[in-house]
Amino acid sequence: MKNMDKKNIPMLGVFLALLFVGFIGYVISPDVKFSEDENRYLKEQPEFSATALFSGDYTNGMNDYATDQFPLRSIAITVKTQAQKLVGVKDSNGVYFGKGGYLMLKKTPSEFKEKKFWNNLKAVESFATRNSDMPVSVLLAPTAAGVYTGRLPEFAVDYHQIDTLKAVKSRLEKMENVKFIDSYSEIQEHLRENLYYRTDHHWTTKGAYYGYQAFCKAWDLDPVSYNTKKVSDDFYGTLYSKVLAAGTKGDTVEAPIIKEKLTVSHQMGKTVTDSLYDETKLKVKDKYQYFLGGNDGEVTIKTDVDNGKHLLVIKDSYANCFLPFLTKHYESIHVVDLRYFNDNLTMYTKANEITEALVLYNMNNFDEDTSVIKLMMP
């Protein structure tokens, strides 16, 4: 290069330095296998072979590797989120930046899969019809964006969760053996409390407790009150993972103290413990897995209650922190997560002498879940 000119030095120096330092950064920094922040495995350097090269696998692998193993990856994502927030963007990656640092899942009226929602409800109804001798409770938990409308960004519109819930209610009331558990009515009386995590898409133990109160009200039961213990105060949940918003405070996770003696068997008895809580999950990123140890296809909870009541719970993860409250009311609780449960449900119901059923999903999942439809099949 000739005529090195002083006025061009800053541009040349910084621009080329960025490229070369970046390159060296990749070479010297060790590959990260798993990103805690993003809660997923990162792509590592692909193995070179002639076949991989000609099929394009190698080069595609290198592209993914370069994006995933960028030396300052988390910082880059945070910068992106902050830059977007700075220019007034109120959501990123499907997450609203709500008021007061609340992150909430975004689902607009046009994103709501109406058809699937009602098809899923139809599947629940057909399950109830087939089991007409059995009382069936249906609890569709509203989510943060539907409940905390005041904390949504200005002008943000959630899909009409509450109206949809009302429509569900009037439909289910026509069925004799079905009870619609009106969790929203209970929840909306406690809006000032932390009913949902600020960084995660789940309801808190408190939120779940009001769901439990609604359940009791529907069946004329006396709700048991519990003391809770704080198990973590640095929970950064899935919503945080999606945006890595700077300055987010961790959430507190609380769990009700259960005094009953329990036998909890997972996956048809593959593992058996005496607790609904999995202490090891407090060390991982997704601390909500503390409840029930995450989503297993099948969990059986035996309590020391002796009342001949055996409950079948068909659920998503919203049930995980809800189930502890039911332990005083049932002799056994049989929990099925249809996403991972591949046995015949009718046979399972018979084998466990089920007397009641509870269907518990959250409103952000019920229009997307593709496994609820399994309830259609006898």
């Binding site: 290069m1 080069t59 370069a66 992106k80």
Partner: protein
């Protein structure tokens, strides 16, 4: 490989620049050819053969045309020229239009035709047009045949403009292929231009594209008028910043290697009529069609009837060049008709209107044009047009629309400013001043762009299909 990827920015580019700068002058072309082949092979390892064939084919054709011309055997020279055009168009048509032709035959006749699923080699529309410009210009006596195959390969494979243009004619690069100097001024300017292009692509085009992507998957029957226009406007911005950003990056990279490529965009959205729009949009493509199709067909020298015919041919071809689907053809014809109407009917009326109305007229048709361009499925296009003109009964505005507008108001303002001449005028006024400050802004945008690239897997490149 796309420029806006970590693999390009932190592996390919530094290694290539390093090799290029340290090696002596006579090796520079070879380094560039090797780098370009790797760049190309990155996306389509096997299709590199087509490119090598294309290079050798037109190298030989160019030499032969030169020899025959020297001997005065013009008919033989013409035959070779035709062979070259047929060969290039044959490659282009086979790889680009076979699938469409087969499915058309199938749907018209119901015959069981084989499905070949020919994959489109990246950049084929660009480099076949480039090599054709070479043999045509050798035939027309505009340029001398290139004897050095490495120099010729440098031209054909040149990675900065390989994927999305500009379509650099050989005539524009002829002298630079053998003699070019890399000065620090030029490299620094290249870096600046690259930063500008990258920011346009990553910060503006991708963000505007994300809005369009959410709107286009909605049920058209539920899209209120404002939302439909927001989507169309966002796509209008996306395609401009995507494509012109890519051209900026190509021109910037060219400068880093000592090349001066022709400009491809000149603020098309400030145009006051459609004719002006096409003088400012994808200039290298319009120039190509003008030089090698419109003028050889007789241009405007053979009467109005013939001129209208020529215009329709050029615009039909221009449309079809953009993609192997009928909406692109329709889009080309749409512009052909608009240009003819403008030229022969209402140009005089239009010129008397206030500037703002001229501008509204132009953008109205340009935006509608992009809707036509974006919707490959004609039934969806029809539904979307209904939404644009309020015939869906979905109202004028919805809460969701207001939220989208409010949330992206800064982006939309930035897009408007960057498509206007404001920044250009400021930079001309302050020429030579605030150099460091300007460079800091550009580098800042570049760093933020890198963060955006890393921070999102959302990085589709629109012009890959052409």
């Amino acid at each position: 490989m796309v420029f806006s990827s970590a693999a390009f920015l932190f592996f390919f580019l530094p290694i290539t620049l390093f090799c290029y700068y340290v090696c002596p002058l006579k090796w520079k072309n070879l380094i560039l050819v090797i780098a370009s082949l790797i760049f190309y092979a990155w996306g389509e390892p096997t299709y590199i053969l087509i490119m090598l064939f294309s290079t050798v084919f037109d190298y030989v054709n160019g030499r032969l045309i030169g020899i025959f011309r020297e001997k005065g055997q013009n008919r033989k020279a013409k035959a070779i020229m035709i062979l070259s055009v047929v060969g290039n168009l044959g490659i282009l048509c086979f790889f680009k239009y076979t699938n469409l032709a087969l499915s058309t035959v199938h749907s018209l006749t119901g015959l069981a035709v084989p499905v070949l699923n020919v994959a489109l080699p990246i950049g084929i529309s660009f480099y076949t047009f480039q090599t054709m410009s070479y043999t045509l210009d050798v035939y027309l006596g505009q340029v001398k045949p290139q004897h050095n195959i490495i120099a010729f390969a440098t031209y054909v494979t040149c990675f900065p403009q390989l994927v999305a243009g500009p379509i650099v004619r050989y005539i524009d690069l002829e002298t630079q292929l053998e003699d070019r100097r890399v000065t620090s001024e030029q490299v620094a300017d290249g870096c600046r231009r690259f930063c500008i292009g990258m920011s346009k692509k990553v910060l503006l085009a991708n963000s505007a594209g994300a809005i369009w992507d959410t709107i286009k998957v909605m049920e058209p029957g539920n899209i209120p008028v404002t939302m439909a226009w927001l989507g169309a406007v966002c796509y209008t911005f996306q395609i401009y910043f995507d494509f012109s950003g890519y051209s900026d990056m190509a021109i910037g990279l060219g400068k880093m290697f000592g090349f001066t490529f022709p400009e491809n965009f000149n603020l098309p959205y400030i145009s006051k009529n459609i004719t002006e729009f096409w003088r400012r949009w994808h200039i290298s493509l319009s120039t190509w069609f003008k030089e090698y199709v419109y003028i050889p067909l007789g241009g405007n020298r053979k009467g109005v009837g013939r001129q209208i015919f020529n215009l329709m041919v050029v615009w039909g071809l221009t449309g079809f060049w953009h993609g192997a689907a009928y909406n692109f053809l329709a889009w080309g014809i749409y512009y052909g008709l608009l240009l003819i109407f403008e030229k022969f009917l209402f140009k005089k009326v239009l010129d008397k209107l206030p500037a703002i109305l001229q501008h509204i007229y132009t953008m109205f048709f340009v935006i509608l044009g992009w809707v036509l361009f974006a919707c490959e499925d004609f039934s969806f296009l029809f539904e979307y047009l209904k939404a644009l003109f309020g015939l869906q009964g979905a109202g004028f505005v919805s809460g969701e629309t207001v939220y989208m507008l409010v949330s992206h108001v800064a982006l939309l303002i930035a897009c408007v400013i960057c498509s206007s001449s404001l920044l250009r005028r400021i930079s001309q006024k302050t020429q030579g001043q605030y150099r460091v400050a300007k460079d800091i802004v550009l580098l800042g945008l570049f760093v933020i762009s890198i963060c955006f690239i890393i921070g999102s897997s959302y990085n589709p490149f629109l012009y890959f299909r052409f």
